[in-house]
Assembly symmetry: C2
DNA sequence: TAAACATATGAATAATTGTTCATATGTTTA
DNA sequence: TAAACATATGAACAATTATTCATATGTTTA
């Protein structure tokens, strides 16, 4: 006796199978969709957004960013790691100082589209 | 006796004040940056990404989407509410059924930029 | 009007995540 | 080489969030 109670009733009656099938055939691979969501997750934090906006203007060291955002060095460093792992920033070392800068050309387009949307 | 221990040492010595000041002057308003992060947060979930991709192909009812993604009706309905609140989808009622469709023209550009980035 | 059904929603839970604190790493300079 | 310093990182904690379950809302039809 299989228990099918968890399956909503509408699955049997309401579903428009032709539509579902057509859409299903055109969906990108699951791994791509997961990667995409993970990528956008990076933009879903205000600190990271601020860091990226700052780097639009100039390359900056960790301390500079920390002061600009009025946050401590550790928090910024953790977030820079996330940005680095997602290939959104690159860095160069100059003595003790590490300068970060933007590594991606899509960020500005994405931000502008987002801005257009929220300002509409 | 003020306690300044929480302030990292580098704030006093390493910070490049000219850069910080210049960048600070060009930063968008804080409220905009928060709104932007909140907006991108919507794309940071795989279920919502899938729903939006599905709606690229066709308008769909809640049950259709639930079946397509093999999730229950409640989960989909909750996520559609988030998308609705962020003005990314719109809906029309036809009897008992509610059909959802895309409400925004920026989504495709944003997704494509994201795809280009992760496939690079 | 009552039953059937598609969708919406509140509450609870589990999982994820941003920040802080403490400390480690790596570079410079005295 | 030791001290000073900029940055990185692990662990812990607090806050956020996606899903599920139970149930409510709103529409149709018998």
């Amino acid at each position: 006796m299989e228990n099918n109670n968890i399956i909503d009733r509408c699955e049997e009656t309401c579903v428009h199978n032709n539509i579902v099938e057509k859409v299903d055939n055109n969906m990108p691979e699951d791994t791509i969709l997961y990667d995409l969501a993970d990528f956008f997750k990076v933009f879903g934090d205000c600190t990271r957004i601020k860091v990226l906006y700052a780097l639009f203007e100039s390359e900056m060291c960790v301390c500079d960013i920390a002061q600009l955002l009025n946050m401590n060095q550790s928090a910024i460093s953790h977030q820079l790691r996330v940005l680095k792992q997602n290939r959104l920033v690159k860095y160069r070392r100059e003595g003790k100082t590490v300068f970060y800068s933007l590594a991606d050309s899509h960020i500005k387009t994405i931000f502008n589209q987002g801005l257009e949307h929220i300002l509409e």
